[in-house]
């Protein structure tokens, strides 16, 4: 069974076995506005928790996606090279950005659950 957790940097991560699928939240895409370019990480790259991994460029600004956990990039969503707008249209499904193999599972356990993240977002407005 998969479960989705969140960071205060507005990333979501869905766990399936030891593989995390990572993207940005609907709130994040709304803040960025129309996304026009996504610089994806290289498959095989090892990431530390909090490391800047992905650059998301919108018509207004550039934003970073930080790795929510320590691990290795095992897959990227290549479709975003041609259709970066998928992250605006469906940020938490079709607009996933990369998958990683987790090395320190307790980092995932420490991320926020949906209720907690929702409250956090509400507190921002």
């Amino acid at each position: 069974m998969s479960e989705t957790r969140y960071t205060e940097d507005h990333e979501w991560a869905e766990l399936d076995g030891e593989v995390l699928t990572i993207g940005i939240t609907d709130y994040a895409q709304g803040q960025l506005g129309d996304i026009v370019y996504i610089e994806l990480p290289e498959v095989g790259r090892t990431l530390d928790q909090g490391e800047e991994t992905v650059v998301v460029e919108s018509v207004k600004a550039a934003g970073d996606v930080k790795s929510p956990v320590t691990g290795e990039v095992i897959e990227i969503n290549d479709v975003l090279n041609d259709e970066p707008e998928l992250v605006n249209q469906d940020p938490e499904n079709e607009g996933w950005i990369f998958k990683m193999k987790m090395m320190e599972p307790e980092q995932y356990a420490q991320m926020q659950d949906k209720d907690s993240y929702t409250k956090f977002v509400d507190s921002l407005s």
């Binding site: 506005g33 129309d34 370019y37 610089e39 460029e57 018509v59 207004k60 550039a62």
Partner: protein
């Protein structure tokens, strides 16, 4: 200590229209509406966009000596500017740099100037200190400014009873829109045909509601205003032009009136004229150019530019994504020897060198209505 943020006469209307408001040059301004930057941009190119530019400074210089007073400060022919005509210009400094850019138009009652919001306090103090003879600066704080831009702008006015086919680009006249008296010029900051309408704060909301009721009109925020002017190759003060860039380096020397150039009837006589006129034509070491990135990554302001041998040759001053072309575009300053159209240069983005081609800075052809 917090500085209080100013509003315009249309702030309430923007909020009513769902605008996202941001601080800009001391004002709370709409950066985008619910449609977002891309759609707002494309709407302006296809139909008509409405812009609140009331944060800009408006002033009227009255008196017989108004033209002569202004000519001391800008390299533009003002004394021969006919009533009903408008010109683009800039305040120069003694080093040949640019203190601000502005629009100047002549009306029966005097010479109107419109300056950038961020510069207006300084500009007006500078103007006031340089009045001479009977010239008098009247700062018009009670005026709003609404731009309507795009191919349908003229149709919107026609539906309001104004056939303006006899009014060309950079002309101006007083018009009455449903009982509201306005000063209107056929100009703007998008590269499209369109109008800028100056109206009293008291009537701005009513006028804005009349315009927004037209089905071709949509509100456009600062985000799309920036991408529209970038596609049109227009400079943004403080970014593409500033106190250190001369008009010739900035490739806006065309705005210097023949009467003020070497051999003209009122040659020179503006700050830095010796430096600026000596640079005409093209005796410069760097030049503002357009840049077309080959890849999809937007190249932002401040990005360093290199040649094939990785020598630093310039800096990007504006850059982003062009909604009309669906690819990134930029402009910046490049050493003269690398500034030829078609030259391949490189932007350093996050440690990588990304290829760009030097081009005209006009990425989307201007669509001005010329008589």
């Amino acid at each position: 200590m917090t500085e209080s943020i100013q509003t315009t006469a249309l702030t309430a209307l923007h909020i009513e229209n769902g605008a996202k408001m941001v601080p800009f040059a001391g004002y709370s301004m709409p950066v985008q509406y619910p449609d977002g930057v891309l759609k707002e941009h494309l709407h302006t190119r296809a139909k008509a966009g409405l812009f609140d530019v009331s944060h800009m400074g408006q002033a009227l210089i009255t008196g017989q000596d108004a033209g002569a007073a202004l000519e001391q400060l800008i390299p533009i022919d003002i004394q021969d500017l006919a009533t009903g005509e408008q010109r683009y210009g800039f305040f120069t400094n003694s080093a040949g740099g640019i203190e601000d850019d502005l629009m100047v138009s002549r009306w029966p009652e005097g010479i109107m100037v419109v300056v950038n919001a961020a510069c207006k306090v300084n500009d007006f103090a500078y103007l006031a200190a340089n009045m001479r003879g009977d010239a008098k600066l009247n700062i018009l704080e009670d005026l709003a400014l609404i731009a309507i831009q795009g191919p349908s702008a003229k149709d919107v006015l026609a539906r309001l009873g104004h056939d303006i086919n006899d009014m060309g680009f950079m002309q101006c006249r007083e018009i009455d829109i449903k009982g509201i008296t306005c000063r209107m010029s056929r100009s703007g900051y998008t590269g499209e045909d369109g109008f800028e309408i100056s109206v009293s704060n008291d009537h701005a909301d009513a006028l804005a509601r009349i315009l927004q009721a037209d089905p071709d009109c949509a509100w456009i925020g600062l985000g799309a205003r920036d991408s529209l002017r970038l596609e049109g190759g227009m400079c943004l003060y403080g970014h593409d032009i500033d106190t250190t860039t001369t008009p010739i380096e900035a490739a806006i020397g065309w705005a210097i009136s023949p009467a003020r150039r070497n051999g003209g009837v009122r040659e020179g006589g503006f700050p830095g004229s010796d430096i600026i006129l000596a640079q005409m034509p093209a005796k410069i070491s760097r030049k503002r150019v357009g840049l077309k990135p080959t890849g999809r990554a937007p190249i932002r302001e401040g990005t360093e530019i290199y040649d094939q041998q990785e020598n630093r040759i310039g800096t990007v001053t504006s850059g982003g994504f062009s909604p009309s072309l669906s690819k990134p575009i930029a402009m910046g300053y490049i050493n003269k020897q690398n500034a030829k159209t078609g030259t391949i240069v490189f932007a350093k983005v996050r440690g990588k060198l990304l290829e760009m081609e030097v081009s005209s800075s006009v990425f989307v052809a201007n669509n001005f209505y010329r008589l």
